[in-house]
Symmetry: C2
Subunit: 323 residues, 2 copies
């Protein structure tokens, strides 16, 4: 291994870049374990995501954005369970000690953590190909987590925010979509700085019957909900919310990006039709827009239809091993 | 990415190799989060370790042993806190879907998990350079965790098991130590199949004043305890427990391997001198040998002396960024 700057020991590295006073967790960075205590009557929700250079991000990504996204994708999983984030651990492999990278990465990571009132409580640093593994912890009332398995026939299918901009950014990078400079930067921000829907997930406790976060694309993630819930769905493809940048693209690009985009980090959830007002109130409290995009049905599988009811050719979800 | 075998989707991969019925955790693999609930009055101890090919293990390691070790190093951290393991998550980057590798890795991993009565509750799989990141959870009575910061002047310094065989294996591989075939295999087992001292850690609750697991070498790990506790220590280098294989090596090799070996995964702990009987009873209950190797003193720093009281040249701890 050839460090790019003068050598800094592993322990100095943790102390310099990642240690902040632990205010909330009983014990923070620096012992064999961190200690985390959920409140009385609460369960701990746990999620872990690994980001690998060249697969989940490009070498040229701004370190600050990478730090943000690495935590954001985990908070998005907590949001999908309706969990309130508490703390996280970071394990990172670095090809060398690059101070500019670590400065930016830590800033992006810890800024998002601070915004959600959570702390880095432990982890591991090592030499190796750039890989970031974050495990995040949240609390949820015992028995109150939003699961993938709770969708019921007749439920309305909802999605938060807008879909497809992250995939549009990828299409732009591949020269498969034409974007001017401003649009390019906007969709790149959508890809690199996703906003986890934590407040919405918490607000949907007791209202939504199921939830999942959209990381692999709507069609693939919806399939998980349908399979686990033992139901099917019809989705109004023309109702899928999208940005003006995506709306300016050919309809094929719109379908590709909204239906099998990946990296949206919006919440896909179901709720009984009679819960309409409660859903809209939760969305308003969380300051996130939500859109009704379909209905849960007894017939298994997902059917995507356009505004005239004609079927839209389906798309497979994004799969890290099959794409 | 070029998979080595016919493509298998990420979700199939999790289901086929890593899904077991979740008996104890409220919710296992397959939702956005896993749910973990520590018992009443218990805190959750959390630890995360990342193993990278070429740095923590060689390409030729038996997959079954790698699966064992990846979990063992995390359980060792829980042991050092006196925590009873509950569950773990696995994030793994794989260069391709190699069925023989996954078979062996999952077997080694899940066999150790089963032996400790814990479950894989979630995680992530992706394509990338072979990297394993495990986060493990244990429970410990609130306020009862063994910390690095509790060593007091006058305490006896103890170590479990035997030190240095893992480093001796490395020296053998580097042709820096002569070992016959049987000895080579024995020390390689010590390196690749460490036994986390979970039962000892739990038995030492309320007895030990501080504890750490030996992952980076005695001299370096002891320095953490001394620094955090604001004390110093004198260590009897000739009292350090070692195997017959290491005892057959030149004294310089013995010192190197026992004092700055790394990868021992034994517990280094302190206890008041009057707790001698309690320590020996805990060790006996846990079926692990323990050895008194020194004493905590007020003078900062660690002093390593031989049987005649003469100083032994010190060694630095192993550091993944400085070695």
């Amino acid at each position: 291994m050839a460090p790019r700057t003068p050598r800094i020991g592993e322990f100095d590295l943790i102390e310099r870049w990642f240690t902040r006073p632990a205010a909330r967790s009983p014990l923070g960075v620096g012992d064999d374990c961190a200690l985390v205590a959920p409140g009385a009557g609460m369960q701990l929700a746990v999620t872990s995501d690994m980001l690998v250079e060249g697969r989940h991000f490009v070498r040229t990504v701004e370190p600050r954005r990478l730090g943000h996204k690495a935590l954001a994708v985990n908070l998005s999983d907590l949001a999908a369970c309706g969990a309130q984030p508490l703390a996280f651990t970071l394990a990172i492999a670095l090809p060398g000690v690059d101070e500019a990278f670590l400065d930016g990465f830590a800033q992006g990571l810890l800024a998002l953590a601070e915004r959600h009132g959570i702390e880095l409580v432990g982890g591991d640093t090592t030499a190796g190909p750039l890989t970031v593994c974050i495990t995040a912890f949240g609390e949820v009332p015992a028995g109150g987590a939003l699961l993938r398995s709770g969708a019921r026939v007749g439920d309305t299918l909802w999605v938060s925010g807008r879909l497809g901009d992250a995939r549009l950014a990828l299409e732009g990078m591949r020269d498969a979509a034409l974007l001017d400079a401003d649009a390019s930067e906007r969709v790149r921000v959508a890809m690199e700085l996703p906003e986890p829907r934590v407040a919405l997930g918490v607000a949907l406790r007791g209202i939504a019957t199921s939830a999942i976060d959209l990381s692999d694309g709507l069609s693939g993630d919806l399939a998980h909900v349908l399979r686990r819930s033992g139901v099917g769905a019809t989705v109004q493809a023309d109702a899928l919310p999208m940005s003006a940048d995506l709306a300016a693209q050919p309809v094929e690009t719109q379908r590709l990006c909204t239906l099998s985009g990946g990296d949206d980090y919006e919440l896909l959830f179901t709720a009984p039709a009679r819960a309409l007002d409660a859903v809209l109130r939760a969305a308003s409290d969380a300051a996130v827009e939500v859109t009704a995009i379909g209905r849960i049905e007894a017939t298994p599988g997902a059917r995507f239809v356009d505004g005239r009811g004609a079927p839209v050719p389906g798309f497979a979800g994004f799969d890290h091993f099959a794409s």
